[in-house]
Symmetry: C2
Subunit: 308 residues, 2 copies
């Protein structure tokens, strides 16, 4: 599981930072990549990474501002042109379907794969045996959502050596033991399956916020998350500007991470007014409140190791 930052700027592209897009690479987990937001030229950024468009399985959109969606039609089209043929689902707020459909229709783009566009409201956006993704409304000029991506716990592995030591050979019985049942062996002995299964492997939690002011929903979404990706469009000195434009400061992002008891904070959506050394200052402001903070840059990757 790895986060790859494709666009970490705010509003308009600059030479240093493209507009918003973030890949959650789940190659080991499910051979797939999920995208969060898709600003213009996300497909161009991807050209400079190891990400394969055909592997993109899901695209989650936090909100409909242009710097978060204008790369979507091009990416969808190129994925088809380059041979992508597996289904892809776009999850976004109300309006995303009209945008995608109009762009594809007007441009005569015919996709060679099944595209589903799902408009979500708050709550569970996606769930399968492996992951559950929930969304909550944040506080922005238009409906903007944060996502909590929860990897489900993996059951513990069967302690085969311990079973063999007792002379219990592989067979259908292993399946029952793995389920933690009480089992009566052929020799009449009763064993407790739970004693032959290792501890479950805790799933990881990633919280990715859309553009927002400081708000309680962010804290709920980020509760004890392994990593929280939060916007910090402005430095601490620009709290008024941040409020006026429905954005957050470094300090507000750090406050969210602290109150949520997240393990790691990554700041993104940095205004182009902050260049070079000025970004170090942004980072310091956040670290003073939440030490385990990083500031994202385009093409930065962040690995989330499996839990013990």
């Amino acid at each position: 599981m790895e986060l790859s930052f494709l666009g970490t700027g705010s509003g308009v592209p600059s030479k240093g930072r493209n507009v918003s897009a973030l890949a959650l690479q789940l190659l080991e987990e499910r051979g797939a990549t999920w995208l969060f937001d898709c600003g213009e030229a996300t497909q161009h950024q991807i050209l400079h990474t190891s990400i394969r468009p055909r592997r993109i399985e899901k695209i989650f959109i936090t909100h409909l501002h242009g710097d978060h969606i204008f790369g979507l039609p091009g990416l969808l089209g190129s994925r088809s042109f380059q041979g992508g043929d597996t289904p892809l689902t776009v999850y976004g707020p109300k309006g995303i379907e009209a945008f995608v459909e109009t762009a594809l229709l007007v441009s005569g783009t015919r996709l060679k794969y099944d595209l589903e566009v799902m408009e979500f409201v708050e709550g569970t956006v996606f769930e399968d045996h492996q992951f559950v993704v929930t969304a909550q409304l944040l506080d922005h000029g238009m409906p903007s959502y944060g996502f909590r991506i929860v990897e489900k716990d993996l059951p513990g592995t069967l302690l085969v050596d311990k079973l063999r030591a007792l002379g219990i050979r592989p067979g259908p019985i292993y399946q029952q033991i793995k389920q933690g049942k009480m089992i009566t062996l052929e020799n009449g002995k009763v064993i407790d399956g739970r004693e032959f299964v290792g501890p479950p492997q805790k799933g990881r939690v990633v919280a990715i916020m859309g553009d927002t002011r400081y708000c309680e929903a962010s804290i709920e979404l980020a509760k004890e998350a392994d990593v929280l990706v939060h916007e910090a469009t402005f430095g601490a000195a620009e709290a008024q500007l941040a409020h006026d434009y429905f954005h957050s400061t470094t300090v507000q992002a750090a406050e969210v991470a602290k109150r949520a008891e997240a393990k790691q904070l990554i700041l993104t959506h940095i205004s182009s007014r902050y260049q070079g050394d000025m970004c170090d200052k942004l980072l310091e402001e956040a670290k003073a409140i939440f030490p385990n903070t990083a500031i994202a840059s385009d093409f930065m990757s962040f690995s989330l190791a499996k839990k013990k």
Copy 2:
């Protein structure tokens, strides 16, 4: 008058060539830049040039394929964000208005300048005292147009030295002389205004084609043009592919230039299958038929000197 190539690739962006966009810089002529097509990340390309988005006055769209229009919403939005406040007109085939309006509406983009979107059919697309732009339908999988941009002839300059030598002093009479009228001087002498006006300065002609197969309309549009920009998606060996996908080969583009008696041909919209040295071969194929040919690359500029 200068052509600046912003995207010279075909279909999808590659590391070497972005999707289609071409700037006609008219800074000296009218302090403005016109764009022809606006593929995704055109605004990103512009960041690496001296082009100022606020100076973009008109955007002409040849056809609605994604690689020619998906950069439009982002460019329009960023132009406003960066302080552009003068009117801008987009000219495009039927459907362009629905695309632009939906993208701006869904994304909540409010422009701080007047945007007009005009859907054209064949004929005169735009005309003022300086320029006339006409469009003709080409032969592509969807309606695709070529543009002929004609700079109107400038009237000759008044031969002031010659007038002064005759003792004719500056005054309202100069205006009449410049118009080439017969004038009776105070001393009763009659002069022919046309004898005191230099030759008119011929306007320049630029022909820019959308995606197309070889067709007669291209030849009409490019008739005696100073420069013809024509697609050459494929090399000469791929005439069948070119036909199947409604594109042209190098040889076909050169044939258009030759039959039109254009002065210069520039090949663009090059498939990403041609890399490095292979592009030299494309150029040779065209030059064998029309020697005055160049092959465009991203960020290439081509100046059109004023005529004598």
